[in-house]
């Protein structure tokens, strides 16, 4: 009899232990699925104070707040749609999703909050203060004018994002009132965040990185490199030509001149001569092929592996001018411009400046954070000098701002619906306070189409500072 009771004891205790393990598993691994289930009304019925804080720009414009009926309202409508997102019965996006919990009232019905209230703490819902400057955001939105594309501007010294526009846009109020279904296939184009969630070939803006690779390999702005009207990489394929099918002012040009006139033949050959390893190294140092931290998440920008490119010289040549399989988000291109502007250091991009209690107390300050170093300070200053000449005497002319030195690099990348117009720019040179990336999909020439948009954004920013 005793023989049987022992195994019974162990079996029943083991089953209790297994229940404990299963409970732990349910709590930890399976939890998230159930929490996000739309039929789970718990998420929408929190105890305590249900009101939520506002989303406010750096210059005090309210872009999201509780409406009189308790649902969210977006006074600026489509201008902030992709960044701020929405909070509707159908789901949440943007800052409204990422800061949903942070904007909740701190009066959660707990003993702790009751005690805090007794001590005089203001437990009202905190506001999210953005780094976005409304004047600049509106200027960027107006300059893009509904064309398909994206504008993103940030302060190179801190990584604080100043403007963030994706177009075409939508009115988040329509999502809240149910007239626009975010999961509808027709809404997909308008809801896509073209700043962080769409990659395109960066075209000639990528030459900034090839220039950095060349300087890392020992060249400087005055080094002469081979140009010419046409270049056929080893291994054959389509010969590479320049915009307008001309030369670049001689068979041998300086590296500076090649960048200023955006010489395709020179950069294609330069990429092949430097080798795939150096090109991929600098691209990965800039943030390609890895995750970039960003408030609402961003897709990876990509470049093929060094091994793949080295064995395929035509592909390497085309990669040198930002074509073929090179893909970048406007956010990453802005970060590259910011790194050049900030003596080679990219600061982590962020858009939430602080959480502020209703009584003005700052509850959480995001602060600035080092992201990575792209190039040494000297190299950054040299490249910045070249990019100034792009604006003074090259393809970047339309981005020039009277009385201020601007540095830029244009790009006109091949696209199925016409060339994508790119520009990355920063200013004022010497002490840059803004870095911009603009893309107009299928828009045409980078300088002519994207240049004026970058100029409008920089002018609005410089005007705001005064």
């Amino acid at each position: 009899m005793k023989q049987a009771i022992r195994p019974l004891t162990y079996t029943l205790l083991a089953l209790l232990g297994f229940s404990a393990l299963w409970l732990t598993w349910t709590e930890t691994r399976a939890g998230a699925d159930y929490r996000n289930d739309p039929r789970n009304i718990r998420a929408f019925e929190p105890p305590g104070d249900p009101s939520r804080g506002r989303v406010v720009t750096a210059d005090g414009v309210v872009v999201a707040e509780d409406g009189p009926d308790g649902s969210r309202r977006y006074p600026e409508g489509a201008v902030y749609a992709h960044l701020v997102g929405f909070d509707s019965d159908g789901g949440r996006r943007g800052v409204e999703r990422t800061r949903f919990g942070a904007m909740a009232s701190r009066d959660d019905g707990s003993i702790t909050s009751w005690l805090l209230g007794l001590l005089g703490a203001d437990l009202g819902p905190p506001d999210v203060r953005l780094t976005i400057v409304d004047e600049v955001q509106q200027a960027a939105y107006d300059a893009l004018g509904g064309r398909t594309g994206a504008v993103v501007a940030l302060d190179p010294r801190t990584g604080a994002v100043i403007a963030y526009v994706s177009s075409p846009s939508f009115d988040p109020n329509d999502v809240v009132d149910g007239s626009l279904d975010p999961d509808d296939a027709d809404a997909e184009e308008a809801l896509r965040d073209r700043v962080a969630d769409r990659v395109l070939p960066p075209g000639s803006t990528f030459k900034v990185l090839v220039t950095a690779a060349a300087m890392r390999a020992g060249l400087d702005g005055d080094s002469e490199i081979q140009a010419g009207a046409s270049y056929t990489p080893p291994g054959g394929g389509m010969p590479i030509r320049n915009a307008g099918d001309g030369g670049c002012g001689g068979d041998l040009v300086t590296l500076t001149r090649a960048l200023v006139v955006s010489c395709n033949t020179a950069f294609a050959r330069l990429a092949v001569d430097l080798g795939a390893g150096r090109i991929v190294d600098i691209a990965e140092a800039a943030g390609f092929n890895r995750a970039i931290p960003w408030e609402t998440g961003t897709v990876r920008s990509s470049i093929p592996s060094a091994a793949a490119l080295q064995s395929d010289p035509p592909a390497l040549a085309q990669s040198g001018i930002g074509e073929r399989d090179v893909r970048a988000t406007p956010l990453l291109m802005a970060l590259i411009a910011a790194a050049i502007a900030n003596d080679g250091v990219a600061m982590a991009p962020h858009v939430v400046d602080a959480l502020v209690a209703p009584d003005g107390e700052v509850l959480h300050d995001t602060g600035t954070r080092f992201l990575h170093r792209l190039v040494p300070p000297g190299t950054a200053r040299d490249i910045a000098g070249m990019m100034i000449e792009v604006v003074v005497g090259g393809t970047g002319g339309p981005a020039s701002v009277p009385g201020v030195e601007i540095a830029a690099k244009t790009g006109t990348a091949e696209g199925s619906g016409g060339p994508h117009a790119w520009i990355i720019a920063f200013g004022p040179a010497g002490e840059p306070t803004i870095a911009v990336a603009v893309v107009v999909e299928g828009g045409g020439s980078g300088g002519q189409v994207a240049g004026p948009i970058a100029r409008a954004v920089i002018e609005a920013w410089l005007g705001y500072g005064e």
């Binding site: 049987a4 004891t9 029943l12 232990g17 409970l23 732990t24 349910t26 709590e27 159930y34 718990r42």
Partner: protein, 429 residues
């Protein structure tokens, strides 16, 4: 465990009960009420009183049993009070009544011990079967059956204008264990003899298997007529495990397992209320608004809990149907977190381990089987409901011992614990 430690832990359980009740009052009603003092007083009176009774009339009893019981009861009364204030206040009275009756049992057994239970085994069997059939009496009788939530396992006693409802099946399970322990202690040799061979299997005389089939029949009857899946499964499993414990013959486990598997398949295909449970277990989200609603809500509650839970009074356990009875374990986990849930399971593990330790130490076959059987009841009942609410198996709808709301359940489980305590006293005295 020293006497002082046992006393301290029982007092500590009362403090937990009072603290949890205070949290519910503060978070939900924004003020402290007399309930906090009442919870402390009732817990201290019930378990302190039981402690005194055991020390007086069964002084050598194991001191490991009462503290974990007081602890899970404390979490139970907190959570029942949190889900429904009135149910919680009634539960306090049930707890006091159960402790009083349990103390009375200790007193009645003070001289002759559990031996007196062995003597009258057929009386217990008849009483148990009678109690099991009581809910089937017509509802119009003064002591009539009543159907609650589709199961006919309640009896309503008319007391003039008021009625008192109780579940006689809860008492029947203890009486059946007493009967089985007594019966098997005398007949185990006949049951353990395996004279026949069927291929590699060694079988007892076919007539020795008759009790197994009787148990199966009683279980099936409970299932069919009372529509009570939980009690049916509990009775059958306890019966098979006791047979195994008495005979050391795994044949009974195999036979019981085969019958249970066959019975389960047959029940799922022929009884609608069983099929609904199985469907809700496998695919709770298919019929979200219907049969799967309870399971789905319980999964949402578990997902919301996290390590420390939402905090007592801050969760929404009332969204789960039957939160105070079948789903009290989930409600506790939602508000007290993984920490609370694991603490509960640990407390049950202590009770079960202590129970089997008493059974193993018992020199006398009847006392050993009685302790083992009573412990098996606690263990299996806990496992059935915990595994059910955690979706390890279909929900069978049974109370979580000591924690669920319900007077009958609390009463029978308290009596069960003092019987275990009495057996342990007799082995040491």
């Amino acid at each position: 465990m020293s006497r002082r430690a046992e006393t301290a832990l029982v007092v500590f359980a009362a403090i937990i009960a009072a603290g949890g009740t205070a949290l519910v009052s503060l978070t939900a009603d924004d003020r402290l009420t007399i309930d906090t003092a009442a919870a402390f007083g009732a817990h201290l009176a019930a378990f302190g009183g039981l402690l005194v009774a055991i020390r007086r009339w069964a002084p050598a009893a194991s001191r490991v049993l009462l503290p974990p019981v007081a602890f899970v009861t404390a979490l139970g009364v907190i959570e029942v009070f949190r889900i429904d204030r009135d149910l919680g206040r009634i539960q306090r009275w049930w707890m006091l009544l159960a402790a009083a009756i349990a103390a009375a049992v200790v007193y009645l057994l003070r001289r002759r011990g559990v031996e007196v239970l062995r003597r009258f085994r057929y009386l217990w069997l008849a009483t148990a079967l009678g109690l099991l059939m009581l809910p089937l009496t017509p509802s119009s009788w003064p002591l009539g059956g009543a159907t609650v939530n589709g199961s006919r396992l309640w009896v309503r006693l008319d007391l003039g204008e008021r009625t008192l409802s109780f579940q006689p099946g809860e008492a029947a399970k203890i009486l059946l264990v007493v009967f089985l322990a007594s019966y098997l202690a005398d007949r185990w040799q006949a049951l353990a003899a395996m004279p026949r061979e069927l291929g590699p299997l060694r079988l007892p005389e076919p007539r020795q298997l008759v009790p197994v089939f009787i148990a199966f029949g009683v279980s099936l009857g409970v299932l069919a007529y009372q529509r009570d899946l939980g009690a049916s499964l509990l009775l059958f499993v306890v019966f098979v495990l006791m047979l195994f414990a008495a005979t050391d013959r795994p044949t009974y486990l195999a036979a019981g397992g085969a019958l249970a598997a066959g019975g389960a398949v047959a029940a799922a295909s022929s009884f609608d209320h069983v099929a609904v449970r199985v469907e809700a277990w496998l695919r709770p989200f298919e019929d979200f608004t219907g049969g799967g609603y309870q399971v789905a809500q319980s999964l949402f509650a578990l997902a919301d809990a996290g390590i420390l839970g939402s905090g007592i009074g801050n969760g929404q356990p009332y969204l789960i149907p039957a939160a105070a009875t079948d789903y009290v374990f989930v409600a506790i986990t939602e508000e007290m977190g993984l920490a609370g849930g694991l603490a509960m399971l640990a407390a049950y593990a202590i009770i079960v381990a202590a129970g089997f330790a008493i059974a193993l130490r018992a020199a006398h076959r009847f006392r050993s089987l009685l302790a083992a059987g009573l412990t098996i009841v606690i263990a299996v009942q806990t496992l059935l409901i915990v595994a059910g609410v955690l979706r390890l198996m279909p929900l069978t709808g049974i109370t979580l011992p000591f924690a669920s709301y319900g007077g009958s359940s609390l009463l029978s489980n308290m009596v069960l614990v003092v019987l275990l305590a009495r057996v342990s006293h007799e082995e040491r005295a």
